[in-house]
C-alpha cells in the first residue's frame, strides 16, 4: 500500500544559507531592541525609585545639617560627630577632601545628587553655609532592592513575551519571503509532472517494441540503426524515470526489502553497456557476491543508474569506469573531465548543471542525494580535473 509523504520544498544550499542568515540577523536585531527597551525601562524605574527616596533623604539631610550647625557653633566644647540610626553620613570640603565619614564605602560621586552605590543609596546635599568646612554632605541609606526584584520579573516577562511575539512575526515574514520561491519551484515541478505524463505512453511503446525486435536476424546496417534507437530510447527512458521519480516517487513511501546489491549492479551495468559502447568506455568490475541491503529496489536501481549514467555522460572516449562492491561499500570511478572543487558543494542542488556540453536537467545527483539521505548512506565524491571522479557509498 502506497502512502503519500508530505510535499517538502527542497531549498538550495545558498538559499538555505541566505534564509538562515536573514533569520539570525532578525533574531539578533530583536534581541538588541529588547535589551535596549529593557535598559531604558530599568533606567526609568531606577530613577523613579530614587526620586521617591529623595524626599526622605532631603528631610534627613536637613536634620543632619541642623546638628552639624550646632556642632560648628560649639566645636570648642564638643567634637562628637552627629550620628543617626536611620542613615550614615560623610562630609567633604570644597576641595573634595574627606573631613569625616561613617559611610560603608569611601567611593562617592560628589557631582551627582542621588545615585545607587552597591546596595546603598547616596544623596549629596550642599549646605548654604559650610559648617565645619563641609561643602558636601553625603547621606547613605540601605537599598532593600525590592524594586529591583520586581523590575527583574517585569523585564523577564516582557522580554520573553516580546521575543516569542517577534519570533512569530519573523516566521510569518520568512514564509512571505519564501512564497515566490515556493511558487516558482511548484510551477517547475508541475510542468515536469505534466510533461512526463505526456511522455509515458510513447516511451513505453518505443522501449517495448525495440525489445521485441530480434537484432540477430537483421542485416548489419539495420541492426546498427536499431542499436542507435535503443540507446536513444534508453537515454530518454532514464530521463523520464528521473523526472517521474522527482515529481511522484519521492513522495511515496518506500517498499523496502532485502536486496542483493551485487545482482542489481550487474543488471544495471549490462543495461548501460550499449550506451557505454558508443564512447568505447570499458567497465572494470570488482563485484563481491552476496552484498545485501535493506532498500526499495526501484530506488537502489535509480541510485546506481544515475551514478553509472553520469560516469558515462561525463567520461572521455576510450575511457573506463571502475565499479567496486564490497560489504557496506560501493564505488564508481570514471576517467572523465572531473569537477571543480567549488562546484562540489552545490553538486546535489536540483537543476544545478556544471557542464552544459552534455544533456540533462541537473536532477540526477539530487535524486542520489535524496535516496542516500533516506537510507542513511554516506556519500563521498572526490574529483580531480582531467583525471576523473570517484563516488563512494558506505552504509
Amino acid at each position: 500500500m502506497l502512502a503519500l509523504k508530505s510535499s517538502v520544498i527542497d531549498l538550495k544550499h545558498s538559499e538555505k544559507k541566505t534564509l538562515i542568515g536573514f533569520f539570525c540577523l532578525y533574531i539578533a536585531l530583536c534581541i538588541v531592541i529588547l535589551i535596549f527597551i529593557s535598559f531604558v525601562y530599568y533606567k526609568f524605574q531606577k530613577d523613579f525609585m530614587l526620586s521617591q527616596k529623595r524626599i526622605n533623604l532631603q528631610n534627613y539631610a536637613n536634620e543632619f545639617i541642623v546638628k552639624l550647625k550646632q556642632l560648628h557653633i560649639n566645636f570648642d566644647k564638643n567634637q562628637l560627630y552627629p550620628r543617626d540610626s536611620r542613615f550614615k553620613t560623610a562630609i567633604y570640603d570644597s576641595d573634595k577632601k574627606l573631613i569625616f565619614s561613617t559611610l560603608k564605602s569611601t567611593e562617592v560621586e560628589l557631582d551627582n545628587i542621588v545615585y545607587l552605590h552597591n546596595k546603598s543609596i547616596h544623596f549629596i546635599k550642599e549646605p548654604e553655609s559650610y559648617y565645619l568646612g563641609a561643602r558636601y554632605v553625603i547621606l547613605e541609606i540601605e537599598d532593600d532592592q525590592e524594586w529591583l526584584f520586581t523590575l527583574q520579573q517585569q523585564i523577564l516577562i516582557f522580554t520573553s513575551t516580546g521575543f516569542i511575539f517577534m519570533l512569530l512575526i519573523g516566521y510569518f515574514l520568512l514564509r512571505l519571503f519564501l512564497k515566490p520561491m515556493r511558487d516558482a519551484m511548484h510551477l517547475l515541478d508541475r510542468f515536469i509532472k505534466d510533461t512526463t505524463h505526456e511522455l509515458n505512453t510513447p516511451i513505453s511503446a518505443i522501449v517495448a517494441n525495440i525489445e521485441m525486435i530480434n537484432i540477430d536476424e537483421l542485416d548489419e546496417k539495420l541492426a546498427r540503426k536499431i542499436r542507435r534507437i535503443d540507446i536513444g530510447a534508453k537515454t530518454v527512458s532514464n530521463i523520464y524515470q528521473d523526472l517521474t521519480y522527482l515529481t511522484l516517487n519521492n513522495q511515496i513511501m518506500s517498499q523496502n526489502e532485502k536486496i542483493d546489491v551485487s545482482q542489481i549492479i550487474l543488471q544495471r551495468v549490462e543495461y548501460f553497456t550499449t550506451l557505454a559502447n558508443v564512447k568505447h568506455i570499458e567497465f572494470n568490475l570488482n563485484i563481491e557476491k552476496d552484498v545485501f541491503l535493506f532498500i526499495d529496489v526501484k530506488k537502489l536501481s535509480k541510485l546506481i543508474d544515475n551514478l553509472i549514467s553520469n560516469a558515462i555522460k561525463y567520461n572521455k572516449i576510450n575511457g573506463f569506469i571502475n565499479v567496486e562492491l564490497k560489504q557496506n561499500y560501493l564505488s564508481i570511478e570514471d576517467s572523465g573531465k572531473g569537477i571543480k572543487k567549488e562546484q562540489l558543494q552545490r553538486l546535489y542542488d536540483r537543476y544545478s548543471r556544471f557542464d552544459k556540453t552534455v544533456g540533462g536537467f541537473g536532477i540526477g545527483l539530487n535524486i542520489v542525494s535524496m535516496i542516500c539521505k533516506e537510507y542513511n548512506l554516506n556519500i563521498q565524491i572526490d574529483s580531480q580535473i582531467k583525471i576523473g571522479t570517484k563516488v563512494e557509498l558506505q552504509w
Partner: protein, 110 residues
Amino acid sequence: MVIKLILILSLMLGYLNASVYQKECISCHQELPVSIDKYFYRYLLKYSSETKVKAAINQYLQNPSRDKTVMADAFINRFGLKKKSKLNQKELESAIHEYWETYKIFGKLK
C-alpha cells in the same frame, strides 16, 4: 632681685623663640574680646577648604577691607578694620599655616 632677673630673661628668651603666629597674631588677639578661634570658624563657614581658607586670610591680612572680612558689620563698626600686615609673604604664610594647624577640623571629630 636675682629671681626677677631670671624671670625677665626667660620671658625675653621665650619671646625670641616664639613663632611668627605667636608673636604677631596671638599677642594682639589676646587683648580682643573675641578669641582667635572664632575668626577661624567664620572663615571655615565661608571658604570650607584649607587652600581657600588660607588664601582668603592671606588676602585679608595683606589688604584688609570691609568686602573681604568674614566678621559682622557690627563687629567692624565697634572694633574697626585690622591694620595692614607688615609681615613679608613667607612670614605671613607661616603664621597662617600654624593658625590652620591649630584649629583645623581634620582629625578632631569623634
